[in-house]
């Protein structure tokens, strides 16, 4: 049985691969037979001619015998498929322009899809590499009610992490992790990298044995001190140590720790967040100890780690959630900080289990939401590409009607014909897919660098992306082939062959519909592009309350050597003095809050207001007398900070407009008193009103700022704002070089343009605007090409009719109007339906825009005008050629 099967396979493979040899052998064999038969009759005395005839009769149909022999080989179906393939390739090679156009069109559509799929998959669907039992691994979120609004946090403290581990039973592992920018190395080689601070349990969630050495264990990660050990990522090991095996045991400075290298992660391990590719992993306890000393174990407020947990296999998700919630509530109630409005009866603390993919959980970023939209848009682009290709195929199908009819008349089955047509589109789709993967490879790297910080990797070697591309190719072949196939199947032989002229192809209603469809989608995409571009404009034009493009942010980072508070205050002063002596620096001031970096809020008390937190979030900024001149924040009323405001003098503050309105509505705030901090804090007198400063969020409402003198603030800040003449990017190196010599021990200085902190906030709108513009432009180009080809084709079809009209006295203008009008009618229908869809879908996209209505008449109007203009251009060329029809020639061609 087995041997029979084996012989069968061998035989078929040979028949298939050596098809020509097998065919000529068959010829030879049959010829030999007939010769022998002829010879037999000749030997019996029959004349040659008669002998040949007798042999032929005895044999029967030679072609039939051949056909049946081929069938007996069992490769007929495959062979006809290959024949179709060869035929397709020959036809396509005969029309290189058509083929190139189709392949590029499909390539752009499939490429856009593959590139976007790579990102959406990475953010939303693919579990982190090496993760075991991803379905049971959850990120933990904690929620409570604060002044009537629900707060949801995933950050928590070490103390709470320990309590949760002890207080739950539904999980076999709860692990803590956080990626931090930490300086590593010493001297010249020191620089900041992403360091993954994790509890030892994290490694148990993965199925990723170290390529070298070992991971840290619970023994290394024992509170409070932990062991100063480090596990290196594979790329870091390769880049820094050249992949040396004897790296184990070496010392590496990681922040304040001098860590011993104990192991190497496997290649491709990226932890839990696809946006980071940490270079080094260190134990949570050792890192915490190096930052805060042994006290960190009871600091419930030092909330900086995130938690991930794996459910026990027999515990369903809802029971695990209940277990975790109960533990969280017990901790909350036991925490003596949580009194009054934070008491658990009011705050109702509870916990949530989210998917391990952060962006699928309740705290998905705005970027991810935009990515999802753009992913949908890439599908629309593919759809448009398909519509265009269908259109092109239809016009070539009309030209091939006679061929199709002829083949049908010759007895080719319709099934065979349909297979042939689908082979055509499949070949085109595969070529397009190949082009698309090349485009995705290039575009994917660009996109991922824009959005993810991990190793960009290769699109064309990623199995899931390839699978997606293959699906897209198959769907494309089907979708583009469907209509031409349906038309071919409906071909009626007699009328086509009977009529010498091909001018009687049915009017292309279908193609008109495809055009309307394309125009509709173009409008939708372009409206999206317009909305994002406008959002980006709004964001850029928005005044943040300081001059983003003139300021350098300087920070002294502590490492190793500990300084007392007074020493740090002295360092603050020395840094400022040195910095303002640099010629390009015009002003300088310390700063306690840095926009989108760090900020400070303190409890405020104002007489007549029992709970200021209910009114909003009040953020503290502290600076010198030069602060307002340095950052460019405008004083609106009263005065700013002056040199005379010192530690011992009356406490003063400048408040923002919004704060003045929130705390003292309708009153003049100047001269009012408020108290900063709890207990018997002294009165701080308002001396001026300044602009609002955006510190925490661009969109955030009810966030207000007040400004106090750094001398009265009294704490070291180790941060400076410097106003420079010229481009801040050019100034940062000089500033760093001048300030570094002031640093004690292992301390170091960072300097960066303030713009660098702000720009990441714009990312979602930048990405949205870029991608919608790119895809919208692509869609517009596709629609224009589609329109042009259909109109040009129609003009060619109607040459005689146009000739008659001209002969009957139509002017060139009449003809041009006729042609343009036909195209424009379709486009106008498309604009109207696209506009309707855009308005209808607008509500869904509005939250992602920035102070921009989704139904902005300006955007809708511009897109309409743009599309009309492009359509006019696309129809003008065929219209001109129609107007130039020579009636005599056209009629004679009949």
């Amino acid at each position: 049985m087995i041997s029979e099967l084996w012989s069968d396979i061998r035989y078929r493979v040979r028949a298939l691969l050596r098809r020509n040899a097998v065919e000529s052998e068959l010829d030879e064999e049959l010829r030999f037979h007939i010769e022998r038969e002829t010879g037999k009759h000749e030997a019996a005395g029959v004349p040659r001619d008669e002998a040949v005839r007798l042999a032929r009769v005895a044999f029967g149909g030679v072609e039939r015998a051949k056909d049946e022999s081929r069938d007996a080989r069992g490769t007929q179906l495959l062979e006809s498929a290959m024949q179709d393939l060869r035929y397709s390739i020959r036809t396509l090679r005969a029309k290189p322009g058509f083929t190139l156009g189709v392949v590029l069109t499909l390539g752009l559509g499939i490429g856009a899809n593959a590139a976007m799929f790579g990102i959406v998959d990475r953010l939303l669907f693919r579990p982190p590499p090496f993760l075991r039992d991803a379905g049971r691994v959850h990120r933990l979120y904690f929620a409570w009610t604060d002044h009537g609004t629900t707060r949801l946090e995933r950050g928590t403290s070490f103390a709470r992490f320990v309590d949760l581990q002890a207080g739950t039973s539904a999980f076999d592992t709860i692990a803590a992790f956080q990626v931090r920018r930490v300086a590593i190395g010493t001297g010249d080689r020191s620089r900041e990298v992403d360091v993954d601070v994790t509890s030892a349990g994290l490694f148990r969630l993965f199925d990723a044995p170290p390529v070298l050495g070992r991971y840290f264990t619970d023994d290394d990660d024992r509170a409070p001190e932990g062991a100063q050990v480090a596990v290196l990522s594979y790329p870091f090991w390769q880049a820094e140590y050249g992949g040396r095996a004897d790296v184990l045991g070496e010392r590496l400075q990681v922040g304040n720790m001098t860590a011993t290298v104990i192991g190497i992660m496997p290649e491709g391990f990226a932890g839990l967040d696809p946006r980071f590719m940490p270079a080094v992993h260190v134990p949570l306890t050792a890192y915490s100890f190096s930052q805060r000393g042994a006290a960190y174990t009871s600091m419930y407020h030092w909330s900086w780690i995130e938690l991930v947990a794996r459910r026990k296999a027999d515990v369903p998700a809802d029971r695990a959630t209940a277990d975790l919630s109960a533990a969280f509530e017990r901790i909350w109630a036991a925490d003596t900080d949580n009194v009054g409005p934070r008491a658990s009866a009011i705050a109702r603390p509870h916990a949530l289990l989210g998917p391990v993919q952060l962006e699928r959980g309740p705290q998905a970023s705005r970027e991810t939401q935009v990515v999802n939209w753009v992913g949908g848009v890439s599908l629309i682009v593919l759809l448009m590409a398909c519509a265009n290709v269908t259109n092109l195929l239809l016009s070539s199908a009309v030209r091939r009607r006679r061929e199709v009819a002829l083949r049908l008349a010759l007895g080719v089955s319709r099934g065979r014909l349909i297979r042939q047509l689908l082979t055509d589109t499949l070949v085109l789709a595969i070529l397009g897919g190949a082009a698309g993967l090349a485009i995705a490879q290039w575009g994917g790297v660009v996109l991922r660098q824009l959005l993810l910080r991990d190793d960009p990797g290769a699109v064309i070697t990623d199995g899931r992306t390839l699978l997606w591309a293959a699906l897209a190719i198959a769907a494309t072949a089907l979708v583009t082939g469907l209509i031409p196939v349906w038309q071919a199947a409906a071909t009626d032989v007699a009328p086509v062959l009977g009529n010498a002229r091909e001018g009687h192809a049915p009017p292309s209603k279908l193609r008109g519909f495809l055009l309307v469809f394309q125009a509709t989608l173009s409008v939708v995409l372009l409206v999206g592009a317009g909305l994002f571009v406008r959002s980006l404009q709004h964001v850029h034009a928005m005044r943040l309350g300081y001059d983003v493009d003139r300021v350098v942010f300087v920070e002294a980072r502590q490492r190793g050597l500990k300084l007392t508070r007074d020493e740090q205050l002295a360092l603050d002063r020395r840094m400022l003095d040195e910095a303002v002596s640099i010629p390009s620096v015009t002003h300088g001031s310390p700063a306690a809050s840095i926009p989108f970096w760090s900020n400070e809020g303190r409890l405020l008390r104002v007489s007549g207001v029992d709970d200021t937190e209910r009114l909003g979030r009040f953020l503290l900024q502290a600076g010198s007398a030069d602060y307002f001149a340095t950052v460019g924040t405008r004083i609106i009323r009263g005065r700013g900070i002056v040199a005379a405001d010192r530690a011992g003098t009356q406490r003063i503050a400048v408040v923002s407009e919004g704060m003045a309105w929130a705390l003292w509505p309708g009153r003049d705030p100047i001269g009012e008193c408020f108290r900063i901090g709890p207990g018997d804090a002294p009165c701080t007198i308002v001396v001026g009103v300044a602009e609002e400063m955006r510190i925490r969020s661009l969109t955030g409402d009810r966030e207000y700022t007040y400004y106090i003198p750094i001398t009265q603030y009294g704490e070291p800040v180790l941060s400076l704002f410097l106003r420079v003449a010229g481009d801040p990017a050019d100034a940062v190196d000089g500033v760093r070089r001048r300030l570094q010599p002031l640093m004690p021990g292992g301390w170091y200085v960072t300097a960066q343009p303030l713009r660098g902190l702000i720009d990441p906030m714009f990312k979602s709108w930048e990405f949205g605007a870029t991608m919608f513009l790119a895809f919208g432009g692509l869609a517009l180009a596709l629609a224009a090409i589609g329109l042009y080809s259909v109109i040009a084709y129609n003009v060619a079809q109607r040459r005689q009719e146009i000739g008659v009209r001209i002969a009957l006295g139509a002017t060139q203008a009449d003809i041009a109007r006729l042609v343009v009008g036909g195209g424009m009618r379709l486009v106008i229908v498309g604009i109207l339906s696209g506009g309707a869809i855009a308005v209808w879908a607008g509500g869904a996209i509005e939250p992602l825009l920035f102070r921009q209505s989704a139904t902005d008449p300006f955007v809708l109007g511009s897109v309409g005008v743009l599309l009309l203009g492009v359509a006019l251009c696309a129809t003008a060329l065929p219209a001109l050629s129609a107007a130039r029809v020579d009636p005599q020639l056209a009629l004679r061609a009949e």
Binding site: S3, E4, W6, S7, D8, Y11, R12, E25, L26, E28, E29, L30, F32, H33, E35, R36, E37, G39, K40, A58, F59, G60, G61, V62, R64, A65, E68, S69, D71, A72, R73, G74
Partner: protein, 110 residues
């Protein structure tokens, strides 16, 4: 010589070919001649249908083809019975024997 010509029941052509090849390797034409002669010209196979059958048998691995030189010094394709083919012939022949005896018994019933 009889004028009565019998058409082959379905599936018996394979058996006849295998039987013919059991004696010695042969090319297509001599297989058809052999069957014709041995059956005293009773069995008339359309010569054209021989070749699809040969290809089918070859695919199943019951016979093997080799190019050789014929008695009149021409290149010809010779077919050989394989071991699997010999087994198949035995099984087929015994099944045929049973069938024909049974059919004869039924027909002789009177």
């Amino acid at each position: 010589m009889s004028d009565v010509r019998v058409n082959l029941p379905q599936g018996t052509l394979d058996l006849l070919i295998l039987r013919a090849l059991a004696l010695q390797p042969m090319h297509g034409w001599s297989i058809s001649e052999r069957i014709h002669e041995v059956s005293h010209a009773t069995l008339q196979i359309p010569q054209g249908s021989l070749y699809p059958a040969l290809h089918r048998l070859e695919r199943r691995g019951w016979i093997k083809a080799e190019w050789g030189t014929s008695d009149n010094n021409r290149k010809a394709k010779y077919y050989n019975l394989t071991r699997a083919g010999r087994k198949q012939l035995e099984a087929g022949a015994s099944a045929w024997g049973k069938l024909s005896r049974a059919v004869a018994l039924v027909l002789d019933m009177s």
